[in-house]
Amino acid sequence: MKRSLLACLLAVTLPAAAGEYSGFAADQSRVSFVSTQMNVPVEGRFQRFGGEIHFDPATPTTGSARLEVELQSIDTGLEEADEEVASAEWFDIAKHPKAVFESSAVEALGDQTYRIRGTLTIKGTTREIATEARFEPGAIGAFSGSFKLMRSDYAIGEGMWSDTSVVADDIEIRYRIAAPAQ
């Protein structure tokens, strides 16, 4: 509470063009994924997610991001698949309603590109991931990028679905995560 009060005061007192981005702009953000079924790439997306970004292009290594995706909001494109992936074999949404990403390090690679490392927790399993993101500055700044995960690492699609010849193991996650400039 004290911190957010301080943040408000700072936001008011500091000039608007300080170059720092913080918070989260949900309507400018997007989380989608591409799975491969029988060698056919199929795109889906998540409709609800939230997060918190702190990023100053002048000091990128101090940047941080936390993102929570509501798995129930999945849109695979096929209704029966939306229901199926809520089941215990897939996300087990009743027990694990959210996927959470928490950054641990941000590294500048030049040309508005950054390598972001962190942990991704899905279905009770936490793993380290790294992704390269491009940053677009503006009144609302956004990181865009993608990374691949192995669904078997998180036990997404167990039992009969563990056959990766039908639904491939690797899933591409594409994202655009935006936050307003302060």
């Binding site: 029988m38 056919v40 029966e80 009969m160």
Partner: protein, 187 residues
């Protein structure tokens, strides 16, 4: 034309006819079976096989039409009344039309539903339509209606062939059969 009029379809036309017949009947049955299945890897596999078979049917029908272009089918029996000839001709035209329309509707429906058709899991068929769920649902109905229409025409086609064979006792059926070598003598 002093050449003797051929009374049988040529072997290529006969082979293509029965290949297409087998693919269409099997794929129709597969379509009826698969769409009620609960989601499973088996269902996803079958959907892919169904699409591959549909693309194959399309290619075979295109080949048939190309072959037919340069290999005139044997004429209809003299004994057929004019209205029957017309009906047969319209029926065949409609059948060809549907043999193209059914796979095309399936392909468009797949595109609109966001699941591209990749022939044998190797050759992606470009999506003509962008992903659009509502359009996909409409195309699903269209695909189904065209299939029911085709089923009706196929039944009429087979029924007519049997009528020619057992009632009219002409060679309309036998000239398309792979095994019968001796043409019947009409009249």
């Amino acid at each position: 034309m002093s050449l003797p009029r051929h009374t049988r379809y040529d072997p290529v036309a006969i082979t293509l006819h029965w290949l297409v017949a087998i693919v269409i009947v099997c794929n129709f049955a597969l379509g009826v079976y698969m769409h009620e299945l609960p989601l499973s890897p088996w269902k996803l596999k079958i959907y892919s096989w169904h699409k591959w078979a549909g693309v194959s049917a399309f290619l075979l029908v295109a080949l048939r039409l190309a072959w037919r272009r340069f290999h005139t089918p044997p004429p209809m029996p003299e004994s057929m009344p004019a209205w029957q000839r017309q009906l047969a001709q319209h029926g065949h035209h409609l059948l060809y039309l549907l043999m193209f329309a059914v796979p095309i509707s399936g392909w468009l429906m797949s595109s609109a539903l966001g699941v591209q058709t990749v022939y044998f899991g190797a050759l992606p068929i470009p999506d003509l339509l962008d992903k659009d769920k509502e359009l996909g649902e409409v195309l699903k109905q269209v695909h189904e209606a065209l299939n029911l229409g085709m089923a009706a025409i196929v039944l009429g086609h087979a029924g007519a062939a049997l009528k020619h064979h057992y009632l009219d006792r002409d060679d309309v059926l036998t000239r398309m059969l792979p095994w019968s070598k001796t043409p019947r003598n009409p009249q």
